[in-house]
Symmetry: C3
């Protein structure tokens, strides 16, 4: 089983996803068995915006497999600063290496890169759009820590309106049977309707509450995220409400003994340091499972023996994406590509649907 | 056959150059045969100005040979920022490693570095002076793509006045018999007289034209380069002329089926994207041959079993170089060294001749 | 013999120190024997302030042992910039890797890091506090160049008031019998009283002089350091005195044939370039011994087969460190830890004693 690109976790079949999750578990138990799995393979990490944590997770994963790494994390010191297109950078680095990992502030950039790369491409975050290896990390952690990914009551707390991490996790966990969700946020930062509709359409239940206290006693999993100060309507509202969404020892005392607390990190102050010593705090182990998940993914994506040119897709000539953050607005040579969804044709790069 | 330093491609004998070009071809056909050729060797890339593309080409080359890399690409975060001399940095890093690759904004810096390094030094670009591995890349590409480096009609288009890349390629291609050149540029950006004289002195013909259209039907090779907007006399002139030097599908249709289009990259807009799909566009393959060329070079330069102190050269005590961009102006401890040329003694670092 | 952390060189027993120094000597004689000693081990270099020279010495050391490296050197492009705590960064990176090397501008940061790391921690400099691998480098150099570390007359020249390097070397060399010190500096930049008291308490003699000339004829070792211009009371004083502390050929002519000149580098102008060719100048070899010293240290610190959680230490609840540069002022979750000294309880992080 080999995977050409990982742009969107939902593009993996259930079999492919299960295969990677299982392999990540095996790696976590016997990491040294895999220390030559990618010997003589070279990965480039193309980070068009700095994200040292994510970059070091990919780098550690590749080095732990016996592979090698090159890359950049500062577009100001690259050919990009001289005006080079994404196409040219990807084409050249795809020639030097065996796999590309790309992080980019613009939506759809990873998909665009995959059109020009002779080697597999991993999306390590494309603006506010997708971050599939974070969700893969979350699933691997649940499988190994909780022991299952179905029949769970999953709380999500923080900025649910803007967090691509929680949106993506909702979609992926809806694929497993018997999961239900509790969304914990202010009114303003509540989960978008299209995610709630999706959850429903997959046969999962959800509820919405305003405080951590009322939700925590019922949860199997609590997924914490950061609320940025500037997301509140006023300083007064921030001061009044911030404590409600901070997880501390007192709130933990309301949780079940089997509770599993996760966080994509970095945290700022939404989890008190006293919680770190609670055996139900799994956010540091989560980063380790993130490295194992990436190891499994890299093995599956570099197992092809030959490089292969990317598949040419048919253009939708008159289509123009209206999302101002879409990569097609910045890289004008890109072909006009669409995908069909229940809502009609949407941009194949950023999946923006108000066209 | 082993090479101590690569400061100037013209310092290689024809046998040495052919040997490297041939080896690069063998590596391109069987890259995995060389994956341990530099095992346990360490290269430092000292980039005193950022050039991510060139640095990643060297890094990929070394890693593909099983070697290891350290280095910097931002002098602001180095000892250099604390006022350390080139001599001290090179001496220390030559102690840590097996080979140094140096990129520097000042002319003659690589030559200066070679005076203090116990290990081989590669010039990866010293200001506007030399960039020998780019020219080596071009030669390796022609040998492998066109099949020969002699009896070619070579067009060069763009900023021929200021481009060290085209100057260097002219000199190197003049060493092979039967080559002729067509220089395509504005009057202001035309090839300098001393290069034209050199070409002539080597028994090669050249002509000069003002448009791509008139030249392209006769070319075996078209070497495109960038014209910077600020090189034109006025905005009006830029607007009027820019299209003349942009290679597009229409101009390509005038070229011969055997035409080989090259470009040192990064491009901005001097080659239209539509040309990328033309089978005569070889600029992306050219970057791959650049990696193979550097692999061959590194193998030849690290094959010595012992480090050896640099050879001391005799000083020309009263000589002072008058080039304000020469490294001797910035690093005052450097010995006064000259080389004899047909024009008389010139600075051994920057080869500037108006002294 | 394995070492958990290296925060302060004085925490090593004499046996541990001798073992590392001996091993560094063996590595310097047969470096290739150790080229697989850390195969499949991964080191992270966490440089919260740039220090390219030190970072490249550690990186070269790890790569020369067959190990691998990740890391950062620019906190602005890391999770740190998003407000992440030292604890979280260290916990996560300790999960990815086998050993951490940390450089930080705040005193006590390396000790703080060691509280949260499941893998060994090396202090690569914590503000003005300690820099143990520099002192280890100095000791390894003396053992290999001079042949002994006892019964030496050691001159130290430059800014002795503010130099953590000379303070640390004084303390370490006082542990060996028969050493005596000559402190060469201006009145204002003279060695602090507590260092002089310490030297005395260890049974070593010292004297203080104002010029290099009067000291140099009697020295076995001359340890040069930089005096920053801004350390002088006025520009006039700087101009008048700077030459007194510059080592040049004339002053070298007053030294004994066995003199060994050291400098932690980078130098600016406190040693003239003409001295570089004097066989008694050992400061470049010193950087090489620094790499060998770090290789020996890394071998000893990664030889444990299992990761082990850091030892929990008992808090001193009401203790607050009054040093404004102490890490406890910046990372508020840190436990209040003290150590007992002859002067009473002092902060366990920065060892500041005016509490």
């Amino acid at each position: 089983m080999s995977i050409r690109n990982l742009i969107d976790l939902n593009q993996l079949s259930s079999e492919e996803l299960d295969d990677i999750v299982d392999m990540a578990g095996r790696i976590s138990r016997h990491p040294t068995h895999y220390c030559s799995a990618c010997r003589d393979k070279l990965m480039a990490t193309l980070f068009y915006e700095p994200s040292t944590r994510t970059q070091m997770s990919f780098q550690s994963a590749m080095l732990r497999l016996g592979g090698k790494i090159i890359g950049f994390d500062n577009p100001n010191s690259t050919s990009v600063a001289k005006g080079e297109s994404l196409k040219d950078t990807v084409t050249v680095l795809g020639g030097y290496t065996d796999i590309l990992t790309i992080r980019h502030p613009i939506e759809g950039a990873a998909m665009a890169a995959s059109l020009y790369s002779d080697v597999p491409v991993i999306n390590a975050g494309d603006g506010g759009h997708l971050h599939p290896t974070q969700t893969l990390t979350d699933i691997v952690t649940l499988r190994n820590v909780v022991g299952r990914t179905d029949n769970l009551v999953i709380g999500m707390c923080g900025d649910l309106a803007n967090g691509r991490t929680v949106h993506s996790l909702c979609r992926s966990m809806s694929r497993y049977s018997g999961n239900s969700f509790v969304f914990i946020s202010t009114q303003k930062l509540s989960m978008p309707q299209y995610i709630k509709d999706y959850v429903k359409s997959m046969g999962c239940e959800y509820s919405e509450v305003r405080t951590l206290e009322e939700a925590i006693p019922y949860l199997d999993v609590l997924y914490m995220t950061r609320i940025q100060r500037e997301r509140f309507d006023s300083v007064e509202e921030y001061e009044a409400q911030k404590g409600i969404y901070v997880l501390d020892g007192k709130k933990m005392s309301l949780g079940r003994p089997e509770l599993c607390v996760l966080h994509p990190l970095p945290r700022v102050d939404e989890i008190s340091y006293e919680v770190d010593d609670d055996p139900r705090a799994y956010y540091f182990q989560q980063t380790l499972y993130g490295m194992y998940a990436r190891m499994a993914l890299i093995i599956r994506m570099t197992s092809q023996h030959e490089t292969c040119a990317p598949v040419k897709r048919e253009e939708t000539p008159k289509f123009t994406c209206h999302n101002p953050k879409c990569i097609t607005r910045f890289e004008r040579y890109l072909p006009h590509l669409t995908v069909d969804t229940p809502k009609g044709k949407v941009c194949a790069y950023c999946e923006h649907d108000e066209n």
